[in-house]
Each structure stands twice: as C-alpha cells, then as structure tokens.
Amino acid sequence: MAAPASFLQPPTDSNPQHTLALSQRAAAYSKSQQSSFTLPYPLSLLSNTESQEKWATYENIFLACLRTGDNDSAYLCLEELTDRFGRTNERIMALQGLYKEATAQSQEQLEGVMREYDEILKANGAVFSIRKRRIALLKSMGRAAEAMSDLVSLLDVSPTDAEAWAELSDMYLQQGLYEQAVYCLEEVLLVMPNAWNMHAKLGEVLFLSAQKMEGGDQLKTLVESMRRSCRSIELCDDYLRGYYGLKLSTSRLLEALDGAVKPQKSSSDPVAGDLAPPSVESVKKLNQVATAKLSEIVRRASSGEKGWDGYNEAEVKAARELIDKSAQKIER
C-alpha cells in the first residue's frame, strides 16, 4: 500500500502520504491519457480507451489534488469527468459542488454553493449525492445540528445507506450521545454484516459508553464491547484496532470483575436471551492474546517488515503506548 500510490485507492483523511503522492502524479497521468498517436477513424473504434479504472483514477486524482491545494490540476480532472459523463450526472454534480466548496474564498461564496444545492434539491429531492454534499457543507460550516437533522431525514428516505449511518454515528459520537451512535453503527452492520472495521468501531463506542455506566450495566456493555472486538478480529486477522479494542475492553473488564464479585449473575438472566457472561479465565486469556498480537504488530510494523507496512503510523504509535502503559502497571 505504501510503496507505489495506487491510482485506484481513494485519497482518505488518514493517509496523507498517499494523497500527496497521488496529486503529484496528476500531471503525468493526464499526459499519459492523451497519447499523441491515434489511429484513423474506422480503426480508432477498435482501440478502446474507456475503462472504469480510468475514470476512478480521474476522480481520485481530483480529490487528492483538492486536498493538497492543487486546484488547477483538480479542475482539469473535473473537466475530463464532466466531458465524459455530462453535467447532470449525480456524481459529477457532487464533484462540481465539492470543487466549488474547496475553492470558495469567503463565507458568502460558501453560502452561494449552499443555495445552488438547495436549488438542485428543489428540482429533484432524490439526488442523494447533493443531499450528502449539503450535509457535509453544513457540518464544515459548523452548523452541526442542522446537518444532523438533515442526515436523519435522509436516512428516513433511505434507511439502507451505510455511509450515511456511519456519518451520523460519528456526529452523535462527537456530541457524546453514545446510545444513538451505537444504534447507528448497528444499522451499518445490518447493511454490511462483515465490515470488521465497523465491528471494531462499535466495540470502541460501547467501551466509551461503558465508562459512564455503573454496576451490572457497565459489565454487560464491556462484555459486548469485548465481543465486538473479537468478532472484528475473527473477520480480519491482523486488524490493529480490533486488538486495541480487545485489549482495552478486557483489561477494563478484569478490573470491573475484580471489583464486583457476584452481582453480574442476577443482571444477566437467560430469559431475556442475553449471552452468558464470559468466564474470567477466557477474558484473561484474551487479554494476553491481544497484548501479544499487538506487540507483534507494533514490532513488525515499526521495523517495516514486508507485508506489515500497511498500518497507520498514528495507530501503531497509540498501540505502543498502550502496551508500554500496561507493562508499567505490571512492574508496579
């Protein structure tokens, strides 16, 4: 993942190097697409330059260039895309809006973009790409409450949109509304049952929410958080966040189990269909396993071993800190 920046991988928040590399190759790529040599008319039909990869690449380069501030190159990519798909294509409309948002100099210009969105939506309320852009714009303008209510109404129309549910859960999480965030993440899992990152994320949110609870409730939430992390690991063997969550939740759970000796028996009655609480040994074992695996990942990732270099640096660092902290505790 790190070595040659793949054109087909969208530039994301968490991977600035990739984004930079992608935007630096923008000029070279657009040159490679305009080959000077084309066959005369009837033969040119046989050599087809159309492919999904080509347009996905253009879009990714566009996004990367906007992120790195290379607006001119971004505009060229956008032109190519618009020429190919037309102005009325929903995706292109969203990309155009994105470009205008990114190049807006003042608050008024942003308001102008917002008005354009409103106009498009007035004509056709089912353009989801524009609705989402509008929500994103509201959010970036600091009007989070409006963005959330918009998102909720979007999800009422389209309750199978995993992306939107995930975004809403993030927003709730920022407001500290854990229960709602959990609900949204569960919806994501309904649509994408095998998304290990979402299982891990749900585990994390549950862990956070458990900090505020007490007694049996806390225990139950911690157990579920631990199980979510387990599921995430089950789905993806070397997922760092899964192990991180597992380690956190198991250590916290061990503390909680130490504190409260017996009361969890009454809180989980089998009639309600709850899963039986795990035995202390298995929690301990899981904790050990998670620690071992985390240190292995940290060791291998920081030495740059082959096949282990795809981890996010910040995550590896956080994992190292966690291991060091727990090691200190044991020494004490």
Binding site: I233, A272, L275
Partner: protein
C-alpha cells in the same frame, strides 16, 4: 454397400458474390442499425420519487433486518422489529402515506410512470419487428429458391427443414443450404459478431431481446403487487424470525484460532 453418391450441383460462383455475401452483410448492418436505433429510442427511466424510493428502501431495510439479525444484540433487534411491524401495519412506509393502505393493487394504466415504461418496451419491439419483417420479405422476393452453399460436413436428414427452407426438393442432400435458411442462420448466429463490433452490451440481436422479454414474463399490464400487502407479508416474516447472535461463543472461536496459530 455402395457409398452414397456425392451429389453434384454446379453453382454459378456469382451466387456466392451476389447472394451469400449480400445477405450476410445486410444482416450485420441491420444488427448495427438496430443497436443504434434502440439506443436512440431508449428513454432513460424516470428517477423514482423520494416517496417511492423510501418505500422500496424501507422494505429492503426490513429484509436486511430479517437476514442479518445475528449482527445486532437481541434488544436492538426486538426494538427494530417492533417498529417495523407497527409501521407496516399502519402503512407508515407506503409511498402514498397511510391512506394508500386500502387502495390495493395499483392500476398500471393510470400510473404515468408505468405507461412510460410500457411505451419504451413497445418502441424496442417496433425497432425489432420492422427490420426483421422487411428483410424477410426482401429475401423472399429476390432470393427465394436458391441453393447457395454446401456445408463441408455431412448432417442427418432432420436438418433438412432448417437448412433448406424455401427449396422444395425432397432428394437434395442436407448439406446444401438455401438462401432463406442462410438468413435464419445469420439471424440466430450473429451475436458473437455483434459482440465484437459493438461491445458485449449491444442491443443488436433481436433473438436475445425476445428471450429476455419472455423471461421477464407475463403480462406487462399485470403491474406491481399491492405494496401494502408486501409490507404486511414482510412484517409476518419478521415476526417468526428466530434470533441468534453472531457474538455467541466468539471468544472461544477467536481464542481457538489465535492459539492454534501461535
């Protein structure tokens, strides 16, 4: 047993240049023409209204809830189930609002969106039928009754009908192919050629389109099902779902796997 006597018919080589080739070329060209005609006549299907979209997605959501229930805790599942069941019975998810509950099956003739869809199908049919009948008539008028080629391999007599349409000679060897039959052969067999010329997504071959229509099946006027009924059905399905959790025993599974690896 004496070997079968090889039938010899002396054909004018002009038959090849003036019948076999023209028929083939005309067939290919009509296919290409048909492809572009269909593309031209095709109107993009109208985007569904938000209400309609909401209806279909709510239904899809309920189906997901039914199939993916192991992913979420029991309490969450029960809560969503209750919400959907009450909503479905009250008609909260219907595109027409709760009042649409009693309307029953929508009449396809009264729905403009559906009328448009039927018009589109009709246009496609016209684009298919017209060239087909024209060419058939053309071939019948000009080339009927010619024997234009001989297959290089022997065949059983059953193929006589297929290969010698329009030639009423009983004793003719099956290997001789008449012009009308050549037309039929090209009609059915040019798909790969179109694929090569137009790409795999073409609308050139009418046979394929007809087959598709047959598969879609039934009367285009049959229309959709009553959405209210669909929702009530789904609610019933959801009610009888037996819940289980994917998290059950996950610790043991993970431990077993990791310890097996380590």
């Amino acid at each position: 047993m004496a070997g079968p006597v090889e039938q010899q018919i002396h054909r004018d080589p002009a038959l090849f240049y003036w019948i076999l080739l023209p028929i083939t070329i005309v067939m290919i060209l009509t296919g290409i023409l048909r492809h572009y005609l269909t593309t031209l006549l095709q109107t993009a299907p109208k985007p569904p209204t938000p209400q309609k979209l909401r209806e279909t997605r709510a239904l899809h959501h309920a189906q997901l809830l039914r199939t993916q229930n192991p992913q979420i805790p029991r309490a969450s599942f029960e809560r969503r189930k209750e919400t959907f069941i009450t909503g479905a019975h009250a008609g909260a998810f219907l595109a027409g609002g709760p009042e649409a509950r009693e309307k029953g099956k929508p009449n396809p003739l009264s729905d403009p969106a559906m009328m448009e869809g039927m018009m589109g199908a009709m246009k496609g049919n016209v684009a298919m039928m017209v060239p087909q009948s024209l060419i058939m008539g053309w071939i019948n008028a000009f080339f009927a009754g010619y024997v234009i080629m001989k297959l290089p391999f022997p065949l059983t007599p059953q193929f006589k009908q297929m290969l010698q349409a329009g030639v009423g000679t009983r004793d003719l060897d099956v290997r001789w192919v008449s012009s009308l039959s050549w037309y039929f052969l090209t009609l059915f067999g040019l798909q790969p050629v179109y694929n090569f010329i137009l790409g795999s997504n073409n609308a050139a071959s009418q046979m394929q389109q007809q087959m598709q229509q047959q598969q879609m099946g039934g009367n285009p006027l049959g229309g959709a099902e009553d959405p209210n009924k669909v929702f009530v059905n789904e609610a019933e399905n959801l009610e009888v779902v037996e819940y289980w959790s994917v998290l059950g025993g996950v610790e043991e599974r993970v431990l077993g796997r990791l310890q097996a690896v380590a």
